[in-house]
Amino acid sequence: MNTMVANKAKAAQPQGAGPAALKVVARDVNVHYGQKHALKGVSIDIPDRSVTAFIGPSGCGKSTFLRCINRMNDTIANARVDGSIKLDGADIYDPAVDVVQLRARVGMVFQKPNPFPKSIYENVVYGPRIHGLAESRADLDAIVEKSLRGAGLWDEVKDRLREPGTGLSGGQQQRLCIARTIAVEPEVILMDEPCSALDPIATAVIEELIEELRKDFTIVIVTHNMQQAARVSQRTAFFHLGLLVEVDDTEKIFTNPQDARTQGYITGRYG
């Protein structure tokens, strides 16, 4: 990893130990889609520079809550969000907050790899360019290299930066999307089932990458794969029917869950 990673690395907390700085603090978040009450009073603390996994049966509101954190739900016409979500202590739903700037601080990686139908290079520089992070050609080149290295893709694509991003394999595309996200140097990265469209080998690569990225970024990952949650995360939150049932250190959730519903889910009784 590059220098940016190195000097922040010591800030990364060993899992579960000590009072980690809180990056995101959500209190009593409710989401309605029209009449449907999709998320019911969710409160959660997400520590800085760690991986928090959201698990739960499908339709339980994991994505819905994830999309609250960068206000992606604003784009859904009939979605209504209330409650409070604070990023570094400032409410992101405050009317004074600019969504565009928020999304530069809270990046997102989606379930299906969705590189733009442009070259690999253009995919990476798009974010920095619209946020005015780099002016000169050399700066952009540097960002491309740094981001692609950060996403573990540099060695595979450095000779074909001008080729279309959509021509890469699924796993490479997803890493390109991660490079695109970290190119704007966000503080939080939201990942919504980033490996569900990938084969096991590509999944393993991404999981390794997440381990690297957490030295630098706060990561929230939705996954339907419990082994994955156990492997990559320090904290795990279990959602069920729109409720946040239980959130704790990952180890505890998988070895000694407090709630019977969590117990039932991780032992595979439903889901």
Binding site: V100, F110, N114, P115, F116, Y126, T166, A183
Partner: protein
């Protein structure tokens, strides 16, 4: 496999073969219809690109052209070339003395020849007083006979005597066919041998340009608003239904609207491409809006999310990603709308673009006509010579359409990213 299964498989194969055969039959029918159309039109029209001319010695008589000795342009334009022409033709056949004979002689060359002589003298006044061998445009009836479009005795447009003179001229090599440049460089005329299509081509170009400049940006902006910004409610539902209805309104209604709004209310000039283009723009708008909305809707949501996810504003998302991806579809809709507009006649009749205009329009405000209206007017003429001109006009219209569509397809290719 059981016999039952084999029978079912056979039935399915047979059904599939039949299905394919229906498709091929339909395509053959369509291709045959198109071929028939092309063969008829080209067969009738290609002769119009050639014109019969007669070589006759002309004396540019100063007494007839410049009696006062003045050679300024205005005088020369208005001079009496008819006499010069008649003198030349009767000098070629001095044996003809009777009144009727002279009239028939005069009928060999049409008024096109007069215009030819005028143009020659205006271009070079030094010709006055000289003798020259000149290839003169034959009268349209003679032209038709030489081209075999009519036969002797056919309604007696050409007399036996005229035919005899033609034979005499031909024996001396004084009858020939030349490429009809005037058809591509001139405007409308009463004489079939003098008509040109360029007036219609230029008028159509102006009209379609106005139409495109108005309808394309308006249509795309409207589609972007409706698809990306407008809330989905009663009002937008009503707007949507009405746009669909508008696309089905008979075009003549748009012509009436143009007449009452653009000409009577806003006082725009009649017969002008500006008005014609505006009317056609109104007509094309719904088509472009509908196509553009469909194209915008077809852009995958994942691309929108990707753009928003890295912090693009809505406008950046639309401008950088959605519109470029939708552009091929939008252009396809625009091509269809423009092709319709190109062939539209009825609404243009309402706003006076059916006028007889002998000048090539110089700007979108000057009176002009368009290709389909020009073709319609020629088809209405009783003279035999206009038949081939009508078909030739259709050929030009088809070529215009091909060129227009080809350039649009080329443009669309540039937008289509093959990855």
């Amino acid at each position: 496999m059981t016999p039952e299964a084999i029978r079912r498989l056979k039935r399915r194969y047979a059904a599939e073969r039949r299905f394919k055969a229906y498709g091929i039959a339909a395509m053959t029918f369509a291709a045959a219809a198109l071929l028939l159309l092309l063969v008829t039109v080209v067969g009738n029209g290609y002769t119009a690109f050639w014109q019969t001319q007669l070589r006759i010695e002309v004396f540019f008589d100063p007494d007839a052209i410049a009696p006062a000795g003045t050679t300024d342009r205005r005088r020369l334009m208005g001079a009496d070339y008819r006499t010069v022409l008649l003198d030349a033709v009767s000098a070629r056949f001095p044996e003809v003395r009777d009144r009727d004979g002279l009239r028939q002689l005069e009928g060999l060359v049409g008024s096109g020849a007069e215009v030819q002589l005028r143009d020659m003298v205006v271009a070079d006044p030094g010709l006055i007083g000289q003798r020259r061998q000149v290839w003169l445009l034959a009268h349209s009836d003679i032209d038709m006979l030489i081209k075999g479009q009519t036969r002797l005795g056919d309604g007696a447009r050409v007399t036996e005597r005229q035919a005899g003179w033609l034979t005499a001229l031909a024996r001396g090599g004084d009858v020939d066919q030349f490429f009809n440049t005037r058809f591509f460089t001139g405007a409308d005329s009463r004489d079939p041998e003098l008509v040109g299509i360029l007036g219609g081509v230029v008028g159509t170009t102006f009209t379609l340009l106005i139409c495109l400049l108005l309808a394309f940006p308006l249509g795309v902006m409207a589609a972007v608003y409706l698809e990306e910004y407008a809330p989905k409610n009663r009002l937008t539902d009503i707007i949507e239904v009405n746009i669909n209805n508008l696309a089905a309104v008979p075009s003549i209604v748009f012509g009436l609207l143009g007449l009452s709004v653009f000409i009577n209310f806003f006082g725009m000039p009649r017969s002008a491409p500006l008005v014609g283009g505006s009317v056609l723009a109104l007509m094309s708008l719904p088509t472009i809006i509908i196509a553009a909305r469909a194209a915008l809707r077809a852009v995958p949501p994942s691309i929108r999310e990707g753009a928003l996810g890295v912090g693009a504003s809505k406008m950046q998302m639309i401008g950088h990603h959605v519109l470029p991806l939708a552009m091929p579809g939008i252009l396809t809709g625009t091509i269809i709308a423009m092709a319709h507009a190109l062939g539209e006649t009825a609404p243009l009749l309402m706003i006076g673009m059916v006028a007889f205009i002998t000048d090539i329009p110089t700007d979108p405000l000057s009176a002009s006509t368009v290709l389909p209206v020009q073709i319609f007017m020629w088809a209405d003429h009783p003279e035999r010579g206009f038949v081939e001109k009508t078909s030739a006009g259709i050929i030009v219209l088809l070529v215009f359409m091909l060129v227009m569509n080809a350039s649009a397809v080329w443009l669309r290719r540039k937008f289509e990213r093959r990855w």
